[in-house]
Symmetry: C2
Subunit: 392 residues, 2 copies
DNA sequence: GGTGATCCTGCAAAGGTTTGCAATGAAGTA
DNA sequence: TACTTCATTGCAAACCTTTGCAGGATCACC
């Protein structure tokens, strides 16, 4: 007691009387179907009756029951968005982009967080299944086969994971990891660690593969550390391990881990970038705010959100579930187009990477580390990618 | 072109055949009501038939349609959570706490972001209304009267806002602002600015009131700056204004603004805390990661989320909407208990506050600024508050 | 005045489920 | 044997909408 305090507690009559289409019909002296049409097909009803019905509805505070409507039309005009960890700043831009795109198409987005828990993911898909017209699965942690199975229950679009037979939006983290490793090698690093993320992450596998190839090609050695929790504390916890590994540069699974790692190294007295260079992935807002500012692989999160919504809606429009047929065979062969889109990433060089032990003394090959360069790897091309690349 | 790339685009038969309770009934040779009971009241059906039905259901991949179920039971087992800005790190802990609490009660949480837009808020309440059993309104930006009106459509619990007649969960930001101002005055500051947030924010008004009182009481002058966007860039944008105002200390509406302000001041060559002290509110994770580490008022976000869910569910249980009466008077007087709970806040002193122009030279009265004190204002008491304080 | 066309409205089925009531049969009791 | 009780199942109404179809009215036109 003491830190929580009840100010007031009253008990009154909540006027939670659910008013239905029938009430409006009775009040305005028409059949319920006329009321229904007043809302869903106004041009079919006489202007006079229309205003009368609308007045009554307004009066009674009537709102169409979207659940009942969905039951018969098969369209909820909602989209579900399942996110591995809402606390990861990587996701909000994606969520917001998806929301804004959805809103333009007259859809609402409901977000659910799974805490990186595959079981929660499955459960949430079931919970959302009949309340939304489709679900965006962002960085799922469950198995591909489970995803495929769930996709029979509700239209799915997968983000940050490749699942054959399903529409996917991918970010080219392989390319990103390669750029990062090449950048580090260019700076004179030969011992590089990859600070891995969750085992079941597609991104994780891609990075590992690409980083390995790039390291070999550049004559560097890649040490893989992990799996780790893709969070600040996950990164911090790996600091000791990184120090022991003796590498002079680290590519982290994401910015959060990179930032945690820098914190952890700092606590151990290891300075970044003087002693160890660190590269993150995602380019979250935060990476511009910490000191040193983080060198990172920028991922087009906004474009991913928009594209995913587009792909879902396109897929959806073709198959109006509410096929009110003879009752026998309910639309057996639904045509569904599944495209897989890859979005580009960009290396953003800031202050957390610097010359390594093998740097050429005279004039360093790659980006000299001014105090605040802030400049993207490819200056002219912005990161944003349009989301209209869905093939038919 | 160039940054987006279609890998594959195939077109196959999606097996989106919706299987209903009727299919299962036919397959297992029982009536649909028996199938229904198998799922919603298993003890009422013979074990033998039960296993048979379950086998058929499994076989066909049947899942009860939750929307249809909700239509008749009046219970969706979902909770809606409407958030002003999901990108604000203040919210994720609240969301996660609410989710975990809800999950224990066998509920799912759907989150929606409004982008600080009152119109979007209203729209989302309508969209969620019949798909959830209640809505948590977090830091709403719409008017009190609109909130009251919406509460007739769906049970509401309001967080970070006081609305008479509705259950509310509040954080004592007044107390927090007072502590912050007293801390600053103790450090020798006499000119203090309050960097305000959104105009329609209850928190904003409370802070302003409490900070004003505390400043007067301590012989300091409070300058109110704002309204501003409650974001990093909103804070950064106010830096120039702060400098011109000539104050030596600033209390910001939230941590994000505080951090932005520090950035902005830094860009202007004003050093924190040497020239200007800055205090934030919320104690988001980020506030421990920036340099200097932020002095801030910690708010019990987790407890708020848990408490809000508890209050909603308690209110909800008492009024089972699906009152299947004679059809005449559908539960006219629903008893609804509305409590308002206030949760305590705590000042956490870190590195962004330091001695002001009027500091006593000899031995500074308040907390000497060691490089990394990390110690809360009231050492023994943790910030977490239990959420079980809802009065009957 | 008859013939269509047009506009508006009502009827009733449908969507997938839950649930009170009644019917069935079996088991238990007197 | 007759009567009760209980467990199990089926029947049908209900939840709130949408929507194809048909009926009625109005109007224009020949």
């Amino acid at each position: 007691m003491g830190h929580t305090h009840v100010i007031a507690a009253t008990s009154d009559e909540g006027s939670a009387v659910p008013v239905t289409i029938r009430d409006v019909a009775r009040a305005s002296g028409v059949h319920i179907s006329t009321v229904s049409r007043t809302f869903s097909a106004p041009h079919l009803v006489n202007p006079d009756t229309r205003v009368r019905v609308l007045a009554c509805a307004e009066d009674l505070g009537y709102r169409p029951n979207r659940a009942a409507r969905a039951l018969i039309t098969g369209r909820t005009h909602n989209i579900g968005l399942i996110i591995a960890d809402i606390a990861n700043p990587f996701f909000p831009p994606l969520i917001k982009a998806a929301e804004s795109q959805a809103r333009h198409r007259d859809y609402h987005v409901f977000v659910a967080d799974t805490n990186e828990d595959p079981t929660a993911e499955e459960e949430l898909v079931h919970a959302l299944a009949k309340q939304v017209d489709g679900v965006l699965l962002c960085s799922p942690r469950m198995s591909n086969s489970l995803i495929e199975q769930l996709s029979r229950e509700v239209p799915l679009v997968v983000v940050n994971r490749q699942v054959t037979g399903l529409p996917c939006v991918l970010m080219d983290v392989g390319q990103g990891a390669r750029s990062a490793v090449e950048h580090l090698i260019g700076l004179g690093h030969r011992g590089i660690a990859l600070l891995g993320g969750p085992r079941s992450s597609w991104t994780n596998r891609e990075m590992r593969r690409a980083a390995g190839t790039a390291a070999r090609a550049g004559g560097a050695e890649l040490t893989v550390l992990g799996p780790n929790a893709p969070t600040v504390s996950g990164g911090a916890a790996a600091a000791e391990q990184v120090r022991r590994s003796g590498v002079s540069a680290v590519l982290a699974y994401n910015d959060l881990m990179a930032i945690g790692l820098i914190e952890g190294l700092d606590a151990l007295g290891v300075r970044v970038p003087q002693e160890v260079s660190v590269v993150g992935v995602d380019d979250i807002t935060l990476s511009r705010l910490t000191r040193p500012k983080l060198t990172t692989v920028a991922t087009p999160t906004g474009a991913a959100g928009r594209t995913a919504v587009d792909m879902l809606l396109q897929q959806d429009i073709e198959s109006p579930r509410g096929a009110r047929g003879t009752g026998a065979g309910t639309a057996l062969g639904v045509r569904r187009t599944t495209a897989q889109v890859m979005l580009q990433t960009d290396l953003v060089i800031r202050d957390s990477t610097g010359p390594g032990p093998h740097a050429r003394p005279a004039r360093p090959l790659a980006a000299p580390q001014g105090p605040d360069p802030h400049r993207p790897a490819v200056p002219g091309i912005p990161t944003t990618a349009t989301g209209d690349a869905v093939a038919s």
